[in-house]
C-alpha cells in the first residue's frame, strides 16, 4: 500500500494497550492529517503519554493498528529504524546525551544513523540551533544549559533527522514557568511551517491557540474531541467539563 498525502499521516484504530493486567488504552482511534497540529489533553494517568509513545514504537500494543504514512508500526516485519527516521520525539525530561555538547547532540543521529556527510550535518545543525535561538551555545554541555535551553536542543536534535511527524510528550511540564514560553514559541514556529505535530500537553492556552484538533482522554478512552473553537466552549461530556473547569 502506498501512502498519499490525502490520507492520514498518522492513524490509530481501536488501539488497546495494557501493562500486565492494567489496561491503559481501551480502544483509541485518532486520525492526523499532514500538517495538522493535534493536542492530547487529560488528567494524569489517562494514558496520554502511553498513547504518544506507541506511535513511534517505544511501547508495543496488544491490539488495534497504528500506521504512519501507511506503514503499520507494530508489524513485526517492519524495519523499526525506518519508522523512527520519520517520527521525531521530544520528551518531558529532555533526555539529552550528557557527554556530548549541544552541537554534537544535534549532529549525532544524522551522522551515525543516516550516514550523512559530517560537514553538511554540521552546517544544518548550526542552522537548527540558531532557529531555536541557541546560537552561541553550540559547545555547551547539557549540564551547563537551563531546562528551557536543553529542551530546545532536544527539539533541534529531533529536527536534524528531518522527520515528517513530531511527537511532544509534555515537553514543558518539567520547566520553570518563565522558560516554558521560549519552548512554546519554538513549537509554534514549527507548526506554522507546516510540521505535523502531536502534543501531549497541559498548556491549555497554547492548545487553544495552536491546535487544529483537541482530544480529551480519560481512563484510556477518548472522551471527546473537536477543534478548539467548539471543544473549550461547548464540551458535552461531564468528565471533560469537570476537567476544563479545574484547569481553566
Amino acid at each position: 500500500m502506498t501512502w498519499t498525502s490525502d490520507q492520514p499521516i498518522v492513524s490509530l484504530k481501536d488501539v488497546h494497550k495494557s501493562f500486565g493486567s492494567l489496561e491503559v488504552l481501551k480502544g483509541v482511534s485518532i486520525d492526523v492529517m499532514k500538517g495538522e497540529v493535534i493536542c492530547i489533553i487529560g488528567p494524569s494517568g489517562s494514558g496520554k503519554s502511553t498513547l504518544i509513545r506507541c506511535i513511534n514504537g517505544l511501547n508495543d500494543i496488544q491490539s488495534g493498528s497504528i500506521t504512519v504514512e501507511g506503514q503499520e508500526v507494530h508489524d513485526p516485519n517492519l524495519e523499526m529504524l525506518e519508522l523512527r527516521k520519520k517520527v521525531g520525539m521530544v520528551f518531558q525530561q529532555y533526555n539529552l546525551f550528557p557527554h556530548k555538547t549541544a552541537l554534537q547532540n544535534v549532529m549525532m543521529a544524522p551522522v551515525l544513523v543516516l550516514k550523512e556527510n559530517k560537514q553538511e550535518v554540521e552546517t544544518r545543525a548550526r542552522k537548527l540551533l540558531t532557529k531555536v535561538r541557541l546560537q552561541g551555545k553550540e559547545d555547551s554541555y547539557p549540564g551547563e544549559l537551563s531546562g528551557g535551553q536543553q529542551q530546545r536542543v532536544a527539539i533541534a536534535r529531533s529536527l536534524a533527522m528531518n522527520p515528517d511527524v513530531m511527537l511532544f510528550d509534555e515537553v514543558t511540564a518539567a520547566l520553570d514557568p518563565e522558560t516554558v514560553k521560549e519552548v512554546l514559541v519554538t513549537i509554534r514556529e514549527l507548526a506554522e511551517e507546516g510540521m505535523t505535530c502531536i502534543l501531549v500537553t497541559h498548556e491549555m492556552g497554547f492548545a487553544r491557540e495552536l491546535a487544529d484538533h483537541i482530544y480529551f482522554t480519560d481512563r484510556g478512552v477518548i472522551v471527546e474531541h473537536g477543534p478548539p473553537s467548539t471543544f473549550f466552549s461547548k464540551a458535552k461530556d461531564l468528565r471533560t467539563k469537570e476537567f476544563l473547569s479545574q484547569i481553566l
Binding site: R84, V87, F91, N95, L96, H99, L112, V113, S158
Partner: protein, 295 residues
C-alpha cells in the same frame, strides 16, 4: 584529615524513603577495602612496624642474634626481594587485571544481552566466580592446567606464575563483570529511549551513548578491584610461585630462620604493598567524589 565516607564521616541516615531518588549518587560497589586503606594516615604502617620491631627485641633479649643484625640481613636481601619478588607481584596483578578486565567487560555486556540463554549463562559465570574463594580458584587452575603444552611439536612449559595470573583473573573477571553491568544499568532508561527515538540501533546506543557515560562511573570501582587484586597476589606464595612472600621466606631460611628476622622481612613486604596500594586507594576515593559531584 579529610573525612572519608563510610569510615570516619557521619553515618548516612536510613531514611531512603524521605530522600528523592538520585541516579547520579549510584555507587556500583562498596569500596570498603579502598576506603579502609585510604583512611589510614601514611605513617600508620611505620608505627606498627616500629612497635613490632621493638617488641621481639625485648622478648629475645637473651638471643645472640640482635635486631640490628636482622635489619642488616634485610638490607642485604632488599634488592633481590624487590627485583625478583615484588616485581612479580606487580606483574601478576597487572596481567591478571588486564585479562580480568577484558573478559569481565565481555561478560558484563553478555549479562545485558537480549538473548536470554546468553544472559543467564553470563549471570551464572559471574556469580560462580564472584562468590568462590580466590585461593580455591588458584588451586584449581594450578592443578587442572597442564604444566606444558605442545605447540606444533614444540613443548612450551607454562611457568607457575602464569597459572597464578590465570587463577587470579577469574575472580577479577567476575567482579568487573558486575561493575560493567551495574554501570550500564545505572544510566537512566530514558537515555535508551531518546536514542531509540532517533533511530539508533541497539549496538549504536550501547557503544555511542550508554558506554561513554559509564567509563567515569566504572573507573573508581575498577581501581578498587585492582588494589584488592594486588593485595591478593601473596596468595600465590601458597602455591610455591616465586613472588615477594615466597622469596622472603626463602631468604629468612638462608639466614638460619632467626625469629628476629620475621618482623623486618614481613614488615618490609607490608610496607611495599602499602606504598603501592595507598596512592591507588587515595586516588580512587578522590576520583569517586569528583565524579559523584560532577556527573
Amino acid at each position: 584529615m579529610k573525612p572519608i565516607p563510610g569510615i570516619n564521616a557521619p553515618a548516612k541516615g536510613n531514611m531512603a524513603v524521605l530522600k528523592p531518588y538520585d541516579a547520579n549518587k549510584y555507587v556500583p560497589d562498596g569500596y570498603i577495602f579502598t576506603r579502609w586503606v585510604a583512611s589510614m594516615p601514611w605513617w600508620a604502617p611505620f608505627l606498627i612496624l616500629a612497635v613490632m620491631a621493638i617488641w621481639p627485641a625485648l622478648a629475645h633479649a637473651q638471643s645472640r642474634f640482635s635486631t640490628a643484625e636482622a635489619f642488616d640481613a634485610l638490607w642485604r636481601w632488599m634488592p633481590f626481594l624487590l627485583k625478583s619478588g615484588f616485581f612479580f607481584n606487580v606483574l601478576i596483578s597487572v596481567l591478571a587485571m588486564t585479562i580480568g578486565t577484558l573478559a569481565g567487560a565481555a561478560l558484563g555486556l553478555a549479562q545485558i544481552s537480549l538473548h536470554r540463554p546468553v544472559r543467564a549463562m553470563a549471570w551464572f559465570i559471574t556469580q560462580l566466580f564472584r562468590n568462590s574463594p580466590w585461593l580455591v580458584l588458584l588451586f584449581i587452575v594450578l592443578l587442572a592446567f597442564p604444566f606444558e603444552v605442545n605447540i606444533f611439536g614444540t613443548v612450551v612449559r607454562i611457568p607457575d606464575w602464569i597459572k597464578g595470573v590465570i587463577g587470579l583473573s577469574f575472580p577479577v573477571m567476575a567482579n568487573i563483570s558486575e561493575v560493567v553491568r551495574g554501570a550500564i544499568q545505572s544510566v537512566p532508561t530514558t537515555q535508551w529511549e531518546a536514542a531509540e527515538s532517533l533511530a539508533f540501533s541497539r549496538r549504536q546506543i550501547l557503544w555511542q551513548i550508554i558506554l561513554p557515560q559509564c567509563y567515569k562511573r566504572m573507573l573508581p570501582p575498577w581501581m578498587n578491584w585492582y588494589a584488592i587484586l594486588t593485595m591478593a597476589t601473596p596468595l600465590c606464595s601458597l602455591l610455591g610461585i616465586e613472588e615477594l612472600i615466597t622469596l622472603s621466606r626463602q631468604a629468612m631460611e638462608s639466614e638460619d630462620n632467626h625469629p628476629e628476622l620475621l618482623v623486618p622481612f614481613f614488615g618490609f613486604a607490608l610496607l611495599l604493598f602499602f606504598a603501592y596500594c595507598y596512592p591507588i586507594a587515595r586516588l580512587t576515593i578522590w576520583l569517586e567524589r569528583k565524579f559523584v559531584v560532577k556527573l
